[in-house]
């Protein structure tokens, strides 16, 4: 039996880690279940992803599909048709625009990703504190997170000085942070919303010699960030999880469903947790590439 896996290409750190985990899992499962075949494709835009799905159905006779939709809306129709044809469908991370299409949903919670960070600021910063925000690639994921963040800050008296897109990219984040630092003499916190962005922001802050002045909260639990947290780094006190390894969970559950016919349906939401110096050890994975 064949499982098709379609995920976004490794265009930035988190997606890269996603790719890594997917490949690892496929290798592992191919050994564990010699009867299972896997087809892994990666794409860089929604239309190409639809093409990949078409190819899997037309030429690879897949029995199950694990898909992380590049975007929800455009993929909903095509995935629905695949599901309707009797193929098992597991959707990962970015949900579809219509309920009830997929058999299994494994996801992080983007709203909680934003609100966890927002709540942390609301709890730890004083009223009138100033925050700058780095957004990701313009997308629904990014929108949901920012909404969650804004909602959590509401009524806290914390001022958001600026929000610009750094596209989940280190270089863009470095540049943007440099410019934030020139523009605002006083910044108390940075919500970098993604650990690649946090890396860029930290480098800019260090360059400007303004370490101590502000905290930086990234997201997704990159190894380096967790390491700083467990070492009580002043600038990086916490992080919010959004494990790229969720793809492994999704593939494993799907494979298990196929070989064991144990029903694996339903939603499997991996909530975003706050990583703090206290619990950091549990989130540090030496071998992880991310």
């Amino acid at each position: 039996e064949t499982i098709g896996i379609s995920i976004p290409a490794a265009t930035h750190g988190w997606a890269g880690a996603l790719n890594f985990h997917a490949e690892q899992t496929v290798d592992r499962l191919e050994e564990a279940y010699p009867d299972l075949d896997f087809v892994l494709t990666t794409t860089s835009d929604p239309a190409a992803q639809v093409s990949d799905l078409e190819d899997m159905v037309a030429t690879r006779n897949i029995d199950a599909l694990v898909v992380l939709p590049f975007e929800s809306e455009p993929l909903t129709g095509p995935i629905k048709r695949i599901a309707d044809s009797g193929v098992w469908v597991t959707v990962v991370d970015r949900g579809l625009a219509q309920e009830g299409i997929e058999d299994l949903y494994v996801a992080g919670d983007n709203a909680s990703f934003g609100s966890t960070a927002g709540r942390y600021f609301a709890d730890t910063l004083e009223e009138g504190a100033k925050v700058v925000v780095m957004r990701g690639i313009p997308s629904t994921v990014d929108n949901e997170r920012v909404e969650g963040f804004n909602a959590a800050l509401e009524g806290s008296g914390i001022e958001v000085l600026a929000m610009d897109h750094a596209n989940w990219n280190r270089d863009n984040a470095f540049t943007l942070m440099q410019d934030y630092l020139s523009r605002f003499p006083e910044i108390d916190a940075v919500w970098a919303a993604d650990d690649d962005q946090a890396v860029g922001a930290l480098a800019a802050i260090e360059q400007a010699g303004r370490e101590g002045e502000m905290v930086v909260v990234g997201g997704a639990g990159m190894k380096e960030m967790v390491d700083r947290i467990r070492n009580n780094d002043e600038t990086v006190p916490v992080n919010v999880t959004y494990p790229p390894a969720m793809i492994s969970t999704a593939i494993e559950m799907t494979a298990l469903g196929l070989v064991s016919s144990a029903p694996m349906t339903g939603d499997f939401i991996i909530a975003s947790e706050l990583i703090t110096p206290e619990n950091a050890e549990a989130f540090y994975f030496e071998d992880s590439p991310y």
Binding site: A9, A10, A47, T59, D142
Partner: protein
């Protein structure tokens, strides 16, 4: 003596070279097809062939227009973003109209009209800036590329613009339906290509494009309206981008800042692989069609097997693109 001279002149264009140029891309295409067949028995299945051809239609239709632009010595980097922007505009319009007119055919027709018109206007804007204001095509279209990409992001508020669900169902057949088992986008692509081929080879317009691309001054001295023809190539390309969008929207029912990403590079690559000269002066529409199919097939074949790490897909595409053109290099280093 006269006869001796004639003889030599007649001998002059060695057939061999011409043939290689013509055959190059076709050989590459056939090689890809053979590889596909060897790798997967389903490669030639009706479903797979339909999929590949239908999804080639967007780039294909655009690349046909691009062939004219490049033949006339121009370039257009904005087509991908333009497609995204037009798709967004079309969806917005249709959603607004659905509220008023309900889920009905007129909404689709107006949507289509909006897409075509927007394409035409966008093409004209590029064309006017290039021909009348006189800015380099590369700069103008690099500029409008950024502008349209921004505008779609802004229209969609950073997210995705989606056609209402029922509307989408009504419009779907334009991509998924067809005639005698041939789906509409395939029909549209081949009709556009056929017309393009005829226009390029058998009309004054096509001839004038080549003349302008070959030597603008000569064309001007020969009473060719250089500005008008150039402008027309951009307008035509814009219109075809609009037409491609008309096929694209029913496929995904949405538009976002990721729509049409890198289509410009793919379209230009298809044109060049097909044998059209990047510096202008000679264009070949059927070659472009072959180029588009080559590019589509590479992607398809990579999905047929899992020989290679998906990370390396791009590398294989790169190698095949270069190889496809090596086959047709004519004068080689002499050039």
């Amino acid at each position: 003596m006269t006869s001796a001279v004639t003889e030599k002149t007649a001998r002059r264009t060695p057939r061999r070279r011409v043939d290689l140029k013509v055959i190059g891309p076709i050989v590459a295409l056939i090689a890809l097809i053979l590889i596909g067949m060897a790798l997967n028995p389903n490669f030639l299945s009706y479903a797979n062939i339909t999929n590949v051809l239908a999804r080639s239609a967007f780039i294909g239709i655009i690349a046909v227009g691009m062939t004219f632009v490049i033949t006339a010595g121009g370039l257009d980097l904005s087509v991908g973003s333009m497609a995204a922007f037009i798709a967004g505009l079309m969806i917005l319009t249709m959603n607004v109209l659905t509220d008023r007119l309900g889920v009905s055919l007129p909404v689709i027709l107006i949507g289509i009209a909006v897409a075509l018109l927007a394409g035409l206007v966008a093409g004209l804007i590029n064309g006017v800036l290039i021909t009348k204001v006189g800015i380099e095509a590369f700069i103008v279209t690099l500029g409008t590329m950024g502008i349209y990409r921004s505008l779609i992001t802004w229209l969609a508020d950073g997210g995705t613009l989606s056609l209402g669900f029922e509307m989408r169902e009504l419009y779907r057949p334009v991509y998924y339906g067809g005639l005698f088992g041939v789906s509409w986008p395939i029909i549209a692509f081949f009709v556009v290509a056929l017309i393009g081929e005829v226009v390029m080879r058998h009309t004054a317009f096509g001839r004038h494009c080549a003349a302008i691309g070959s030597n603008e001054k000569v064309a001007r001295f020969s009473a060719v309206s250089v500005i008008r023809v150039r402008l027309a190539t951009y307008a035509l390309l814009g219109l075809l981008v609009g037409f491609a969008v008309v096929m694209y929207v029913p496929r995904l029912g949405s538009a976002s800042s990721a729509t049409g990403l890198l289509w410009e590079l793919e379209a230009i690559a298809a044109v060049i692989i097909g044998g059209t000269l990047l510096k202008g002066g000679f264009g070949r529409v059927w070659g472009t069609v072959v180029g588009v199919l080559i590019l589509s097939l590479i992607g398809n074949i990579l999905n047929l097997t899992d020989f290679v790490s998906p990370y390396l897909n791009g590398a294989i595409q790169g190698v095949v693109i270069i190889l496809a053109v090596v086959l047709q290099r004519s004068r080689g280093a002499e050039r």
